[in-house]
Symmetry: C2
Subunit: 762 residues, 2 copies
């Protein structure tokens, strides 16, 4: 990039380019789209967690005025003979076929001219089941004979999953194992061994815009308008399901009202497509906020972690057993178990590591990717565990971490060496911002205050592909075509800045078009904090191709090399008028070596590591268990921030989201029936739940392998929040919570139990 004259677009806190459109209500969301002749779909859902469908009586619904038709899984077979989808396993039927596997599973659909009619009619569908034994807990799932699926059906395109094909009598969708050094020997020789178990509940993404897909199937092909984070991946999957070539399947999106991983891969799109193929009209499938509970969720988990530690505080060995509750369908869960699994031992330099990570099937709503892709569950566990060890050994938790920290240049558990991973700087900055070690008001009486910190580290995603195209018009204005979906994270702005920097333009001169597989080239998806790095590279390469073509055009037009003409002037010299377009494209696929099947080791698990952590100060009311977060500092290493203001809001936004997962959010089940499928009983953070002081900050760093030194920051803000709070609670009141959410009731019970109060024992 020596040939690029820096235009100073990197590090600009440019306001989001779509801000005006959003505040004036002109920004497009798929939910607002209506097509002529469109039918509205409403889903009738299973009322039982596991069973065979005996009979579906849709006659009353079908007879209602305004109802176009009622569609069942059997009907889907007429247009899609193999109607099973999924990004890792092809296990999820578009509508239940023969069986249901969780309470809330889509069984039938009413198509009507009006959404209200569809909803009313959907309640008239009567379904008889023969119930089957079920399993709900992830630990029980390992040994239960209540099998959720007859056999495993991994997607054919993945070589590393092929050995699972057809495996029967198991609820383990995927088991990942890492073996580094000799853990057993190290434990036997240890001064101290600590073992703890931590749990997290199933939780919700809760984007404010629920899933919506509108499909329009015609003889020319299929168009899907979808609130998706992964238009390219949805296109490939719809092409597979329908047997169409990719270029006959168009998947487009607009702005998203949040995604957080809920909207990756096929969700409502396959159903909308099947319904449109059947009805031969456009069909809209738009979920309510409440239907999200039955669509996709965050894995509940059980994490048993065991460490060998020397008396002076060096961790010599660690064993991690991670069991994820994947619910009824695999979705991307197997990859969560695998990818987060290899980072389960934390950002520590540990010689002997063993990890067993399991994705289990249960009769619950499906779990998939959620901001952090499993890591928040793991950091929650290992950073509580870290503090518990430090306390037990009488060491300062920060010093204990520093002594064991995995620093740049050292291999992570997989063997992949850290490069430009500023975990130490993150830790230092948290310590500095929170005033660790300095005296503070610890309260008194029933109001006690404490501090806690936590750090975490995550791999980025690999293998994966991003492609970008840039068109430069004859007046020098540029248009960027890339599939990165702006769901509020500011990617449109950041990618415009990268393109502008590479083209020596102002970011305002770069227009970014909305993802549309007809227009924007392939991108695996907007997920895993990958867009800044992966798409950023592709965008920069596209700009470089443009620059090369501009130079060639200038040379053709007789401009002497080295002449610094404005782009518009180069076009004029070449074409004699305001005419022409230069089109450049660039692609990025990081180097990657798949983990060894036996050891789980690889020299190249990820193109880069992201680290982040939190420092908190809490106040606990020992009489009520009420918790106030007085201060929350989220610090991350994102390399060079492309747009510092957006980085800051990513970190504070992630803090608030993780605060909900830490303090209040939990999907509560009784016998597989969700008891709180509404946002009165399932409590996401409101404005009154905010920390009194909340800060987000990136440390000064640079990812040399990244575009302009940058890397992702979408997930890092989620890592430290939960364990830092639990650690602060122990600091304040001396009790340890090992299961989320940390409700006032949980805190009070722990306090009472510590005091020998029988209420605490319950």
């Amino acid at each position: 990039m020596n040939d690029v004259m820096p235009a100073g677009q990197i590090g600009r806190s440019l306001p989001r380019v779509e801000a005006r459109a959003k505040v004036t209500g002109r920004a497009e969301y798929i939910h607002n789209l209506r097509l002529p002749g469109m039918l509205y779909a409403k889903i009738a859902r299973s009322t039982i967690p596991h069973g065979r469908i005996k009979r579906i009586d849709a006659s009353a619904a079908a007879a209602m005025p305004g109802v176009h038709s009622v569609v069942t899984g059997e009907d889907i077979l007429k247009v899609i003979p193999e109607p099973y989808f999924g990004p890792a396993f092809h296990d999820q039927p578009i509508l239940a076929l023969g069986k249901v596997r969780f309470a809330g599973e889509p069984v039938a659909v009413v198509l009507a001219e009006d959404p209200k009619i569809a909803e009313t009619a959907s309640q008239q569908i009567s379904i008889d089941y023969e119930e089957l034994p079920a399993v709900y807990d992830e630990v029980e799932a390992l040994t239960s004979t209540a099998y959720v699926h007859e056999a495993l059906k991994p997607a054919g395109m993945f070589a590393d999953l092929k050995h699972l094909a057809g495996k029967r009598d198991t609820n383990v969708a995927l088991d990942y194992h890492l073996r580094r050094g000799d853990v057993d020997k190290a434990f036997a020789a240890a001064d101290h061994v600590f073992e703890h178990v931590f749990r997290t509940p199933q939780q919700m993404h809760t984007p404010l815009e629920p899933h919506c897909a509108i499909a329009d199937a015609t003889s020319a092909g299929i168009t899907v308008h979808s609130s998706t984070q992964t238009p390219s991946s949805v296109r490939v999957e719809i092409a597979r399901l329908t047997g169409l070539p990719e270029n006959r399947v168009r998947v487009r999106t607009a702005f998203l009202g949040g995604g957080f991983g809920a909207k990756v891969y096929v969700k409502m799109e396959a159903l909308a497509v099947a319904l449109s193929l059947l009805a031969r009209r456009p069909v809209k499938v738009a979920l309510t906020m409440e239907e999200q509970f039955f669509t996709i969720s965050k894995h509940g988990s059980t994490f048993r972690i065991k460490s060998a530690v020397t008396k002076d505080g060096r961790i010599t060995a660690r064993y991690c057993e991670v069991i994820y509750n994947g619910g009824a369908y695999a979705d991307i869960g197997p990859r969560v178990a695998q990818k987060s699994g290899f980072s389960a031992a934390g950002p520590y330099d540990i010689e002997h590591v063993a990890i067993d990570s399991f994705e289990t099937y249960t009769n619950r709503p499906t779990a998939g990717a959620l901001r952090g892709f499993g890591m928040p569950q793991l950091v929650w566990a290992y950073e509580c565990h870290t503090d518990m060890i430090a306390r037990a050994l009488g060491l300062d938790p920060v010093e204990f971490r520093r002594k064991n920290l995995l620093r740049d240049g050292l291999p992570q558990a997989t063997g992949t060496v850290l490069r430009d991973t500023a975990t130490d700087a993150v830790l230092d900055r948290i310590v500095q911002r929170i005033g660790w070690g300095q005296p503070f008001d610890r309260g008194g009486g029933t109001i006690r205050r404490g501090r806690g910190i936590a750090i975490g580290m995550k791999a980025s995603i690999s293998p994966t592909t991003s492609v970008a195209t840039i068109a430069v018009s004859a007046d020098g204005s540029a248009t960027l075509y890339c599939g990165t979906v702006d769901m509020g994270q500011g990617s449109t702005t950041a990618l415009a800045q990268i393109a502008a920097e590479a083209l020596s333009l102002d970011a305002e001169a770069v227009r970014v078009v909305a993802p549309d597989t007809d227009t924007t080239p392939y991108d695996m998806g907007t997920l895993g904090s990958r867009s800044t790095f992966h798409m950023g590279h592709a965008v920069r390469r596209a700009a470089e191709e443009v620059r090369g073509k501009l130079a060639a055009m200038a040379a053709e037009a007789g401009v002497p090399a080295g002449t610094n003409l404005p782009i518009a002037e180069i076009f004029r010299r070449k074409y004699g008028m305001q005419a022409g377009t230069i089109v450049g494209s660039g692609s990025f696929v990081p180097d990657y070596v798949p983990p060894n099947h036996d050891t789980g080791l690889t020299p190249n698990a990820t193109p880069y590591w992201m680290s982040g952590g939190s420092g908190v100060e809490v106040e606990v009311d020992t009489e009520t268990g009420q918790l106030r977060i007085l201060r929350l500092v989220n610090v991350a290493d994102c390399g060079t921030p492309i747009n510092p203001k957006i980085v800051e809001t990513q970190l504070t936004g992630a803090a608030v989201m993780q605060l909900g997962f830490t303090l209040s959010e939990e999907m509560v089940f009784t016998d597989g029936q969700l008891r709180n499928p509404n946002f009165a009983d399932y409590k996401i953070p409101g404005i009154r739940d905010m920390p009194e002081r909340l800060d987000g900050e990136a440390v000064a760093s640079r990812q040399e392998s990244g575009p302009y030194g940058a890397k992702g920051v979408g997930e890092t803000g989620t890592f430290g929040v939960s364990p830092a709070i639990a650690n602060a609670i122990e600091d304040a009141v001396g009790v340890r919570i090992t299961e989320l959410p940390i409700t006032p009731e949980a805190v009070l019970r722990a306090i009472r139990a510590a005091a020998g109060d029988p209420l605490g024992d319950e």
Copy 2:
């Protein structure tokens, strides 16, 4: 292209790829589009041909329920300070400003929630004028002091028009002059000199879909949905008018219900944009069929042609004075006068040539491009003239043409040498198909039959630019992005065939997206028969870039060179899954040397020449003047036909269109008022007007400089029809018609005049 394995896509008579969508009513036309919140515009038009606007009283219209607002030229100034547009001259106000220059000119617009309300209200607008002297005839316009414009305003971007800027006291928008050899001397030395004058009336394009533009102006930019043949050029012009960069102006189109040159450059788009900027809502401007009469038309013309001929029939010199009636605004008329001007001497090898070609302003509706870009008017004249000379000298018209024919390798009048121009083959084939020289039934009594032929030649367009992009998906399916507008001519199919050939795919595997400046790169426009050649080159080059990138990707993935892997397999090797997109682009701008300003000569006026001609057999009823076309054969040289079936329909379609211009179509004016602005009184051909036998045929030829040997064929079918018919009439009944249309009345008058009947003298 030696590296391309031919897939046999060239020369395939593939059915049009959009055929199914069209016959099932699913093909998109802009006329059918409604946007949420859209207002409908109805234009109030000038009732006088030339005058100052004294007062516009819109109070009654504005007060009508459902009317949003009434907009005048003065209102436009609030959003577009310099509201004058035009592709060659910036002379046309979006709405009349101060003056009107033809009866039918847009003066005010009603915006309403409903189109019917807008129409009713538009009739309530009262406008007072002060009338000004006017000029209507193109010959009178040369000397009249009734000036239509105060001063000439050529578009700033054209160097060759700059000398005209600010020129006053003239109705000549552009005068083109060619001088080759010494015409005066040659005439003085001639055995015979022949001079004739031919006229054509102002006529109509009559696409079945009238002009429609919908503009949606927001803070993010402007989107225009338009039934345009030139999305890129409209984008550049709207960007200029509004001061926006190109990438904030999106112009998209869909299928067009015909274009024929009526829809090139800005027509309703600037008005729609101004209205949307004023109303801050989407605005639709959709014309009725009848409003087309006041929007754009075909030039009426007067052509004085004079030839020096030796007694054995060699043409030694020719003088051409061409005067086009451009109407009130220049539109692309100056280019018509210039570009057709230099071909006015016909496809003949003439040593001494002088040409004066004039575009005049008159107080009539504007004239612009129409299929043939002036050439049908000129071929009409020079091929009648050719027959008249042959007859006068007693030579066979075919032999006379052969003796003088401009053959491949010889310079055309401009000095540009013919390469791969198969005019002789065209003439031979017409002779063969029509059975020239063979006996036929010449009728008798009042029914007489005759035969006629005519040939013509036209330059293609230059300078001009086309850019295409091709994206290939991971499954090997391809998408072609190009701005060529399919208005019924089959370009989508032909360009898919070219892309497929270059990619070694089946044409069915290539999807062609609709023109959209957000998506498809720059293309000057779909006009001048340029798309097959110019865009065909760009498409082939884009495919070549794709092939290069595929080869590089295969090499990167370790595929040995020369291995012939399917595209999908190359992707899989590189990305490990069905992922990625290869994007290639290509551009084409033909070599071009502008004509010398003094001599009009250039060694490179055009990248290729197109020739075509007709043979007809007619039957004349000498009692009524009624004409029957017994047979019409249209033959053209289009190089290698990409899709022979489509070439054939282009030739027969052009024949029918030109038949209307020949036999019935004429805009009739009295004092600048159009007397027949409706399709009852302005008669286009119906099914009963078809020739009894109609054939279209391309001669075997190859344009070496064209993509796969191909060149355009959209206009060649118009050349020979009119003069061949007039020549056949003279052959049948011995009278010569020199002015179109050749109505039964005109024939009868000529017959009577020839017989000395006073009715014929009127």
